[in-house]
């Protein structure tokens, strides 16, 4: 479902004398449907960079990034938008939303863009927020003022509201208490069971051990860090 072939990434800093910084090289990996793969490697080794490239947020310098049938490295912006809308879910560490929009609408939005009726979208959002133990009195408030753990759960709900066949998870359990961590691990297990291909970053080793089928150390792809 997700397949990278010899992908590399460089940053060119035009305002600092045009310095070219190679950050990743020779990345190849595969994530099959129903599989969960964890990226490992120390901080700065390029785990997030890799996830961002697969999401189309960073441009790859070379190589192929296949998600479903689409090569993200060469796809047009419109194709990437369609991919994100229908096939590729993403749970980031950061919540980026229009201020003042109620939490329930933030969570329902991906369904609305898919054309789901507003009422059904809200019902599904409500069910998911309830499963994640977010108090109902918060649903009508904007998540911008929430605590880290609450924002994290909003992000997760937004990422799991649609059964994406491919998912990217960036630290999904980082700021959660034990109960909610269980809920999230359950969501991941459910996604795997329905055949989703999942690539994630988990600093939480116990969580990683429970849901991930394989580990992939990205240090080997990082110029200067590779042994």
């Amino acid at each position: 479902m997700i397949m990278l072939k010899d992908v590399s990434k460089t940053f060119t800093l035009h305002n600092q004398g045009g310095a070219v910084i190679p950050v990743m090289t020779g990345v190849s990996l595969t994530v099959a449907p129903g599989e969960c793969v964890a990226l490992t490697g120390r901080s700065g080794s390029g785990k997030s960079t890799l996830m961002r490239m697969i999401h189309g947020n960073y441009l790859a310098a070379s190589g192929e990034i296949l998600v479903g049938g689409l090569d993200v490295a060469k796809a047009s912006p419109r194709e990437i938008l369609a991919l994100r809308r229908e096939e590729l879910g993403y749970v980031s560490q950061f919540l980026r939303v229009v201020p003042r929009v109620p939490t329930i609408d933030v969570v329902a939005e991906p369904l609305l863009t898919l054309g789901t009726a507003a009422e059904e979208a809200r019902d599904r959002a409500a069910a998911l927020l309830a499963r994640l133990n977010l108090p109902e009195r918060l649903w009508s408030l904007s998540p911008t003022t929430f605590s880290g753990g609450e924002q994290q759960r909003v992000n997760i709900a937004r990422g799991f509201i649609h059964p994406y066949p491919a998912m990217l998870l960036d630290e999904p359990t980082a700021s959660l208490d034990a109960i909610n961590r269980e809920v999230v691990l359950g969501l991941i297990a459910d996604a795997k069971a329905r055949g989703a291909a999942i690539l994630g970053i988990f600093h939480d080793e116990e969580a990683r051990a429970r849901v991930c089928d394989r580990l992939l150390d990205v240090t080997g792809f990082t110029p200067g860090l590779a042994a």
Binding site: N15, L59, G69, P77, V98
Partner: protein, 265 residues
């Protein structure tokens, strides 16, 4: 699953652009307004155009909207060549299938005419002759832009800045245009009012399938509203692509400078 995958991208490829711009240039004497701008805008898509003052983004917008005649290039709207079109037809398009939201509501509203009259004008311009129906539509749109229906007979001069801007949007969208040009629509508003307007615009774009060309210098606004982004400098497009990709991984030196110059909060 493969069949479904083929489908979503086939859909993307199949749908023709609503607006096609090729080699558009506008010169003010020897000074460049905008030069050799080309892009396609598809149904339901929001294209952000960013750049500093004088970068040519407003010149480009006014050429696209037909407020100024470009010196070179072509614009095709829904298969129709905008420059081969007679003026009456172009103006008819401008008040039915297209719309323009100005930065200042004063430029886009009739300040001496009631809110209902402001919304109704485009309906009457395309032949609406039933007072009751016009008023009902105006009330419906006031609701959609979150203005109390009881204010329908008040003049916009009695409204706050945010309300005026929402009224301007209602006035423009009442004839269900397919393409909307927006020039700094959140420009003169307080931050909290901006947020509400952004949310409203996002909802309208999604629910009505609007295509939007959005000119702004506010990178936070384009991140939340625009699907794609075009960066302009000295009249030229220096970079374009997916909005978050251009903002998070800018390739051109100017874009890198622009992005890194934004104050973080």
């Amino acid at each position: 699953m493969d069949g479904a995958e083929m489908n979503i991208y086939a859909k993307v490829k199949e749908a023709g652009p609503l607006l096609s711009v090729r080699g558009l240039s506008k010169f003010y004497g020897s000074r460049i307004g905008c030069a050799d701008v080309s892009f396609d805008l598809f149904p339901g898509e929001v294209l952000g155009i960013v750049g500093e003052s004088g970068s040519g983004k407003s010149t480009l917008l006014s050429c696209l909207a037909g407020h100024q005649a470009p010196d070179e290039g072509g614009i095709v709207f829904d298969g129709r060549d905008m420059f081969a079109m007679a003026e009456p037809e172009r103006r008819r398009l401008a008040r039915s299938e297209q719309a323009f939201v100005h930065q200042s509501p004063r430029d886009g509203l009739r300040m001496g005419v009631s809110a209902g009259g402001n919304i109704g004008e485009r309906l009457m311009a395309v032949g609406g002759r039933n007072y009751g129906a016009i008023r009902e539509t105006a009330l419906d749109w006031l609701g959609r832009v979150e203005i109390d229906g009881a204010r329908i007979d008040d003049r916009p001069s009695a409204f706050s800045g945010g309300m005026q801007q929402r009224l301007q949007i209602a006035r423009n969208l009442v004839t269900a245009p397919r393409l909307v040009f927006m020039d700094e629509p959140t420009g003169g508003l307080d931050v909290s009012v901006q947020a509400r307007l952004l949310d409203l615009l996002r909802g309208l774009v999604r629910d009505l399938g609007l295509s939007v060309v959005l000119v702004t210098h506010d990178l936070a606004v384009v991140r939340l509203l625009a699907h794609r982004l075009m960066v302009m400098k000295s009249g030229h497009v220096v970079e374009q692509g997916l909005t978050d990709q251009v903002l998070d991984d800018p390739q051109h030196g100017y874009t890198q400078l622009l992005v890194s110059s934004v104050l973080q909060v």
